[in-house]
């Protein structure tokens, strides 16, 4: 029987199976953050339960943390209580936490891979939908709710039913100047924000294999924006080279054994998927979202779509509502749209490669006069350190960007980094929902290079038109 990568990961984690196909699935790693864990810990306490396996958990505060003047602590008392609660819970139950002043602190989906706490072949969960990120390592990773966070803490298992499988194959060489973000936005544009509902998506093809681990994480991260709880990419030498030597990775004692096992983590040739989608990377252009759902995406050389051309009445009304919220007229060239705020960061695009791509555009340029604020928020303390060793912070600061401390920041605006009503943002994050970056805020999702290009020109522009200075 030819198996998909998903089949292999699923089968190797089934503890028991009921007649109706419901399985008890073993979870190798749970990542915890402050927002979705307090009620789970409280549930454990109320039931008099203890975590099943303390070493399977790793915790970090990320959503509420300030990205400026961190030494002063968190000014909002409600946010502070949530972060303090994580701290207390981790101490009470003996769970490792990278606290706010730990250099390893960062966005949970950045630090897991960075520490080697994310490994090929694992099942990984977190009370956060962007857990799909970790699938880039050939791990089965998905977001869960707080009840399930408690369930995994208490039993190290989840009750699950297997989903359908989809292969998204991206073939051909990606044009220079385009990135993983453009690939995944184009995929979402093609299959829609619910296209992956009920599926686990495996991303394959030569364009995916050519991506770095950072790029692969960007693609898997947004599987949830296509409706799929989990995204997967097969293990290859790029994966193994990335993992080697990281703090939580297997040491010399088990390394060869682990690598031999990881090399099996790919779909067998000829394995069948429930759905296959093919995309030619050579045809792609830089992507920009125009609306309030990630599927509302076009290329930089397009215009804002006209709802009158849409035949489906629900979709047409959705488009009209989106244009109204976004303050945009149909048929406006995307290039004529002028953001006032630029945000570079998040679990989608807060890694070192993203910092480098944005800095390459910012180098020798200045943030345009109409840009009120341009934020660069590294995904972790270690990304920040690395970027500073490479001098990227100086490039950003010289260009007029703000260089901040790590956290989720303006991706969801739980800390003080948020849009004001009506403000328009070129953002490297993952969701352009109404109010996502601040009530009334307007989000255009783009790659880090495209965000930096918008920052230095004051409007959206094809980054390929800017020379490297």
């Amino acid at each position: 029987m030819k198996q998909t990568l998903y089949d292999k990961l699923w089968d190797s984690h089934v503890v028991s199976q009921n007649d109706d196909g419901t399985c008890l699935l073993y979870i190798d790693r749970q990542l915890l953050h402050e927002v979705t864990s307090p009620q789970a810990f409280e549930g454990l306490r109320l039931a008099g339960r203890k975590p099943w396996r303390i070493d399977a958990n790793l915790a970090v505060p990320d959503h509420n943390v300030p990205t400026a003047n961190r030494a002063a602590g968190i000014s909002d008392p409600v946010s502070r209580l949530q972060v303090d609660t994580l701290d207390q819970n981790c101490r009470e139950f003996g769970i490792t936490q990278f606290g706010m002043d730990d250099p390893r602190q960062g966005i949970v989906h950045v630090i897991g891979p960075e520490q080697g706490a994310t490994l090929p072949g694992m099942t990984i969960v977190c009370g956060d939908s962007h857990t799909a990120t970790h699938g880039a390592f050939g791990a089965l990773a998905h977001g869960i709710g707080t009840s399930e966070v408690e369930h995994v803490l208490a039993t190290q298992c989840l009750i699950q039913k297997k989903s359908k499988s989809m292969l998204v194959e991206v073939e051909g060489e990606l044009p220079a100047g385009l990135t993983a973000k453009d690939i995944v936005l184009a995929i979402i544009g093609r299959i829609g924000t619910a296209g992956g509902t009920g599926y686990t998506i495996e991303f394959g093809g030569s364009a995916i294999r050519a991506l770095s681990m950072e790029g692969r994480m960007t693609v898997c991260n947004m599987a949830i924006e296509a409706g799929a709880r989990a995204g997967l990419i097969a293990v290859d030498d790029t994966t193994i080279d990335y993992v080697k030597g990281r703090p939580y990775a297997p040491g010399a004692e088990h390394w060869e054994q682990a690598v031999a096992s990881w090399k099996q983590l790919k779909s067998d040739p000829g394995a069948e998927f429930n759905r296959v989608v093919r995309i030619d990377a050579r045809d792609l252009q830089p992507q920009v979202t125009w609306g309030t759902s990630p599927e509302m995406v076009v290329t930089i050389n397009d215009k804002v779509p006209n709802p009158e051309n849409e035949t489906d009445p629900t979709k047409r009304e959705g488009m009209k509502a989106a244009l109204k919220y976004m303050g945009l007229e149909a048929d406006t060239p995307i290039r004529d749209i002028q953001p006032e705020i630029v945000f570079i960061g998040s679990c989608t695009n807060g890694r070192i490669e993203d910092m480098r791509a944005a800095a390459a555009v910012a180098r020798g340029r200045k943030v345009a006069a109409n840009i009120k604020q341009a934020l660069v928020v590294p995904g972790s303390g270690l990304v920040k350190q690395q970027a500073e060793q490479e001098g990227l912070d100086k490039i950003f600061i010289a260009a007029g960007f703000e260089w901040r401390d790590p956290g989720c920041s303006m991706c969801l605006a739980m800390n003080n980094d948020r849009l004001k009503p009506g403000e328009r943002c070129a953002s490297t994050s993952n969701r352009n929902f109404e109010g996502r970056q601040g009530q009334g805020g307007r989000t255009h999702l783009v790659s880090p290079a495209m965000a930096a290009a918008a920052a230095v020109t004051g409007h959206f522009i094809d980054v390929r038109e800017l020379e490297v200075l």
């Binding site: 070493d55 409600v78 857990t131 869960i144 399930e148 190290q156 739980m414």
Partner: protein
Amino acid sequence: MDKFTTLTGLAAPLDRANIDTDAIIPKQFLKSIKRTGFGPYLFDEWRYLDHGEPEMDCTNRPRNPDFVLNQQRYQGAQVLLARDNFGCGSSREHAPWALLDFGIRVIIAPSFADIFFNNCFKNGILPIILPADQVDALFTAVSATPGYELTVDLEQQTISAADGTSYTFDVDPFRKHCLLNGLDDIGLTLEKVEQIKAYEELKKKETPWLFRG
């Protein structure tokens, strides 16, 4: 978790596709460390004309008259009609907590986002998937008939109304069993302690690098 067996309740229509969990409960309310008290902030940015903050008293906040759940005829609704992909986006369980706290026990839509759908069952909310034409018919009936109530019978897997409307729906047998009996998943899983331990012993040999403790 509260049991769900049968319910007869007022239905309210939310005629929009892709309603995300950021809309259901905006991020600022996620700072709470409790499971309760989210109802007043459900759909906060659509429901009120001012900006909501956690622990705010909502009694005198200005209501948005255009938001459907603010209409007098839908006060006390327990059944929510929605469109495709309801609950997309974030995994926040605060979304079903807010709906439940507001009084919603049943959501009917042509499709739901996976994580939200799953989170509902953990909280005694029944999400029902019906074909788009049946959902359309319900939207029409609810809008046309003030006080339109639906009766949902989980055991029989039926939805019915006084006008003779009657539909059947599918539900996963395990989830149905848990909801009918208000069962705690963790308790059920802990009945399999020996199997979990046996699995771990096997994996400690096969993949020892995953066990550092």
